[in-house]
């Protein structure tokens, strides 16, 4: 089973995302901020990270930059999922190493389509 780390400070968003991803046969873990997510990745690298932008302690962009510096045998696919929908944010995310970007609000079929695009489904 493929593994996923859902990183979002909203418990509601994490629950909804977990439900969608479990239907797609992903085993999910959760983190409420970037620092907790980084610790989770150091413990075990998931196949992909679904990542919010604005979070306390460490935001999604800083997490991504730190993640890409981790000495790991493999890097996870990272899909941003955020209300930061302007082109500058998207460009920053891609430059920092994001593989895909979902602009909230979104329909569940969009997440599925992005997972297909990045080769996870």
């Amino acid at each position: 089973m493929r593994t996923c780390l859902i990183v979002d400070d909203s418990r509601v968003v994490r629950t909804v995302a977990r439900r969608i991803l479990e239907e797609l046969q992903f085993a999910s873990r959760e983190a409420g901020d970037g620092q907790a997510a980084l610790a989770a990745c150091q413990e075990e690298i998931p196949d992909f990270v679904l990542l919010d932008w604005n979070m306390p302690v460490m935001n999604g962009l800083d997490f991504l930059r730190a993640l890409r510096q981790l000495p790991s045998v493999r890097q996870p696919i990272v899909i941003f999922c955020t209300t930061e929908n302007d082109i500058n944010h998207i460009q920053q995310a891609i430059e920092a190493g994001a593989d895909e970007y979902i602009m909230k609000p979104f329909a569940s079929d969009v997440l599925q389509a992005k997972l297909v695009q990045v080769g996870l489904l």
């Binding site: 929908n85 302007d86 082109i87 998207i90 460009q91 891609i94 994001a98 895909e100 970007y101 979902i102 602009m103 979104f106 329909a107 079929d109 969009v110 389509a113 297909v116 695009q117």
Partner: protein, 278 residues
């Protein structure tokens, strides 16, 4: 809805667009024509039918037909056809043609234009392969409202997220508030025209590649045969026709055959080797 009203409307829609509505689609007529009746200040669908029977109102007929067309469309729908276009179809056709000969592609029943623009993006991503060869993408639809939207090339956040990889969004679109506008360069590659799939298409010219995906599913068998026959007439002898994933022409045409090993892709009978898109 009264059975007589359903029969009147379904016969009219079939005659004008080829769309076949079975009696279990009554709900579809009610859902789509109810708002049109209200817009025309008619009480209900019965009032709409009464109006159509009493006055020859061509605009109303067009609006009814247009309301019944299904305009589901997304960028890079199903993925695979565009992958085949890039990896197999384009290299073969480009290699078989003189460099100065334009490549012509038809996006039939193009709806709001996502398929045509997905083709254009695929071609630009393979610019080196095309090596300056002129390209013309002709995109047609029966619905005026869809053609207006397609020509504008402006899509909502919801629409661009359906199928368009983020790198291609950044590369080929400009953000306009909450919408995204396609790059002028892409728009200039596509010419949009009004065309009814029931009509002759010889006037559109000859095509190397025809996309007619998820169109035949709305037609009955005689209509499907007619559409395929007309497409076959404008398809280059070594061209290809791409249909939707659930569509087939088996039993419907003697002029086209499936390309072995390439589901959903058809070519003129006898035009290619046994097992190749390429």
């Amino acid at each position: 809805m009264q059975a007589a009203d359903f029969q009147f409307l379904s016969a009219l829609i079939k005659e004008r667009s080829g769309i076949a509505l079975s009696s279990d689609k009554t709900y579809l007529l009610e859902n789509r024509l109810g708002p049109l009746a209200a817009q025309r200040r008619l009480n209900d669908i019965a009032g709409l039918v009464a109006r159509m029977k009493s006055v020859r109102d061509e605009q109303l007929i067009r609006d009814v037909v247009e309301a019944m067309t299904t305009n589901e469309s997304l960028f890079f729908r199903d993925g695979k056809p565009f992958e085949l276009l890039r990896t197999a179809i384009l290299p073969r056709i480009v290699a078989a043609r003189p460099k100065e000969r334009p490549l012509r592609i038809w996006s039939a029943a193009c709806s709001s234009g996502q398929e045509a623009y997905s083709i254009a993006i695929t071609l630009l991503e393979e610019e080196a392969l095309l090596a300056g060869r002129p390209v013309e993408i002709v995109a047609t639809d029966i619905a005026t409202s869809m053609l207006i939207k397609a020509k504008a090339g402006v899509y909502s956040q919801f629409e661009v997220q359906r199928g368009l990889p983020i790198r291609l969004l950044l590369k080929y679109f400009t953000q306009k508030g909450t919408n995204w506008e396609i790059a002028p360069r892409l728009r200039s590659m596509v010419s949009f025209r009004q065309h009814n799939m029931l009509g002759e298409c010889a006037g559109l010219g000859r095509f190397d590649i025809v996309f007619c995906r998820n169109v035949l599913i709305y037609f009955d068998e005689p209509t499907k045969k007619g559409v395929i026959e007309r497409i076959a007439q404008v398809l280059a002898p070594d061209g290809v026709l791409l249909l939707g994933a659930v569509e087939t022409i088996i039993g419907l045409s003697t002029r086209l055959e499936i390309v072995p090993g390439a589901a959903g892709i058809y070519r003129p009978v006898g035009s290619g080797p046994r097992a190749a898109v390429a």
